[in-house]
């Protein structure tokens, strides 16, 4: 009987040697005259266990990991293909606690299927959302999304359904769906995982968005740092087109939707929606003034839905299982689930999809297993380079947009980067300004000039040069940036800076905590 073995093709798994493991498994099987079927599945997102090799045994998937090339011979010796015991044996994959304690909705298929097998996708509820949507009126689709409570998962958390309503209500012969796949925040990789490991779900979400607002063309604006995702998406689009889910007369419904991927070019600011649209139009990615909203005058001046990868990839399950099913997860106004990404200095890093309401402490210690270095976790940056640093006194606050907002912090795209006690928070604050100076589009003064002046002021504070005066100046500069910048780049860079100063004044050589800003 053919033995079915799974080795992930996700680029993080590859970065740890998954391709070499896959080759070694094939060679070893040949040597032993064993007939195997090697599936390159997506990653389950348990990255501390990657490369995670699975084998189908008595109808269950059994996991071994982390496996390197050198382990392959002993895996065969221990008859892993019959579920045999080995040092790296992890038991049934579905029973791994880390995975079992999640609520995987958007990531339901990730790690289970072969990313480019349409049959696999269809066998796992693929295109059920589209099949429902195609028989609905646009307004009914928009209502479903509104009722689900889904908010933009890119970071701004604006209600997705309301954005769609605006585009639907704006009359135009041409409208667009733009997927923001410029995932530039450090500590985040959930967009990449969807695109590499379940590309069809993103495509399905975009088609449904097109049906909902009467748009017939979509763009995926993909960051250039993701060459593997580019390759997977292009292949996936071709497969879906060949099977009449995309293109003209989709599923014989007389409705059309076409899709193309555009490669970005390494500018962080192009993750900001108006800057992204400028870039797609073939220009410098300068932020636009709002209004007009992109929903009214977006790409090439036409009404445009701009949504993050995760928002769009969540649409199919909302349509297939109903708005209420999704809205039943979460707390308060933060409905549904968030794909949380553990990164930085943690023992057990990876993708955790959970309903809103989990605390940082649970994430860092129950899931993350504490720091990788074994030292105390000193600070955690939540929500990317523009997110605040959280200190231990706030580890028990529930992850929820509103609760974080009260802290002057953001949930953002759900990236969590942990630092141990070796980190110097004055250096991190300085880096926030440095990053802003490198990535600012230069259109507005607070961001363009404030970022460089901010680095200088921090240097003076650390050098104890007229310290009280410079601390006041830093607070003043941050206030100007928050209130005077055109977009979140300049407007949020003060979040990490001020949180670092507020919770870790000693690292700046400042004795008393500065006043609230």
């Amino acid at each position: 009987m053919t033995i079915k073995i799974y080795v992930p093709i996700d680029s993080t798994a590859q970065s740890l040697g998954a391709n070499e493991v896959a080759i070694a498994i094939e060679l070893e099987a040949q040597k032993r005259n064993l007939e195997i079927e090697l599936v390159r599945n997506g990653s389950r997102g348990l990255f501390w266990l990657e490369p995670l090799v699975e084998v189908l045994h008595n109808g269950d998937r059994v996991a071994y990991g982390p496996i390197n090339e050198g382990d392959v011979k002993s895996l065969f010796d221990s008859k892993f293909y019959e579920g045999g015991k080995h040092d790296k044996y992890l038991g049934k994959t579905d029973e791994i606690v880390w995975l079992k304690n999640q609520e995987r909705l958007t990531f339901a298929r990730v790690g289970i299927t072969d990313p480019l097998s349409l049959d696999d996708y269809l066998d796992h509820q693929g295109f059920e959302g589209l099949k429902k949507a195609i028989n609905l009126e646009p307004q009914n689709i928009v209502d479903e999304v509104k009722d689900s409570g889904l908010r933009g998962r890119g970071g701004a958390a604006f209600p997705t359904g309301i954005k769609w309503q605006t585009v639907l209500d704006t009359e135009s012969t041409q409208k667009y769906i733009v997927c923001n796949a410029d995932e530039g925040d450090s500590g985040t990789y959930s967009d990449r995982m969807i695109m590499e490991n379940d590309p069809f779900v993103l495509i399905e979400g975009m088609i449904i968005a097109g049906l909902a607002v009467n748009a017939d063309h979509g763009y995926i604006y993909l960051r250039s740092e993701y060459p593997h995702a580019l390759d997977v998406l292009n292949q996936a689009i071709k497969i879906v087109e060949d099977n009449n889910y995309l293109g003209k007369n989709i599923l014989n419904s007389n409705k059309n939707f076409t899709l193309e991927v555009r490669r970005a070019a390494g500018a962080y600011i192009c993750g900001e929606e108006t800057s992204l649209l400028e870039s797609l139009e073939g220009k410098r990615g300068l932020v636009r003034y709002k209004p007009p909203l992109p929903a009214i005058e977006g790409l090439f001046g036409k009404p445009t839905v701009v949504n993050n990868v995760i928002s769009l990839a969540t649409i199919p399950i909302i349509l297939s299982k109903g708005a209420q099913y999704y809205a039943d997860f979460g707390v308060g106004r933060s409905k549904g689930t968030l794909p949380i990404q553990l990164a930085g200095n943690l023992k057990q890093t990876g993708l955790i999809e959970k309903a809103f309401g989990i605390t940082l402490r649970e994430l860092l210690y129950d899931f993350g297993g504490g720091s990788a270095t074994g030292k105390k976790i000193k600070a955690v940056q939540v929500g990317g380079p523009l997110g605040a640093f959280i200190s231990e006194e706030n580890f028990d606050i529930e992850l929820d947009y509103e609760a974080y907002s009260k802290l002057n912090a953001v949930v953002g795209h759900g990236g969590i980067v942990a630092f141990d006690e070796d980190v110097n928070m004055a250096e991190m604050a300085r880096y926030s300004f440095e990053f802003c100076a490198i990535e600012s589009c230069g259109k507005c003064t607070p961001c363009r000039i404030g970022s460089t002046r901010g680095m200088e002021v921090i240097d003076k504070i650390v050098a104890k040069d007229e310290q009280p005066k410079n601390v006041a100046l830093l607070e003043n500069l941050c206030d100007t940036m928050v209130n005077g910048s055109l977009c979140a780049m300049g407007g949020m860079t003060p979040f990490p800076v001020m949180s670092a100063l507020k919770y870790f004044p000693n690292d700046f050589g400042v004795e008393s905590k500065p006043s609230e800003t």
Partner: protein
Amino acid sequence: MDKNKIQHHIEKYKSLPGGLLPLMHAIQDELGYIPEETYPLISQEMSLSVAEIHGFVSFYHHFRTKKTGKNIIQVCRAESCQAMNSKSIEIYLKDKLGIDYHEMTEDQKFSLEPVYCLGNCACSPSIMINDDVYGRVDKEKIDKLIKDIE
């Protein structure tokens, strides 16, 4: 510069909405960089001024106007990698290759570039060599990767 090659790419993207972005990718993919000598031709064909093209290319970190080494090593400088001591990786690579960021080794084998996140944050620190990402890199791993290329 092979004018025909550039012309070929221009034909492909000339009438595509927002075509300048994919056009510049195509040129850089083919030549490894975007020579400034191509600007007048692109300017004429795309109905843009040379200044606009310069403005476009210089805005994006990904686009280069100078020749690079045969292999491009990108070192992630973002927060997650910093939390796993990427600083020591930066110093080690600069020292080993004898170059700073945005420079090329004398034998033209390597260029070194900073990058702000490779999306491999679960396995920091990370570097990227050409199109391949490597996670949890340390000095030995870097030595091996560079030796394999050489």
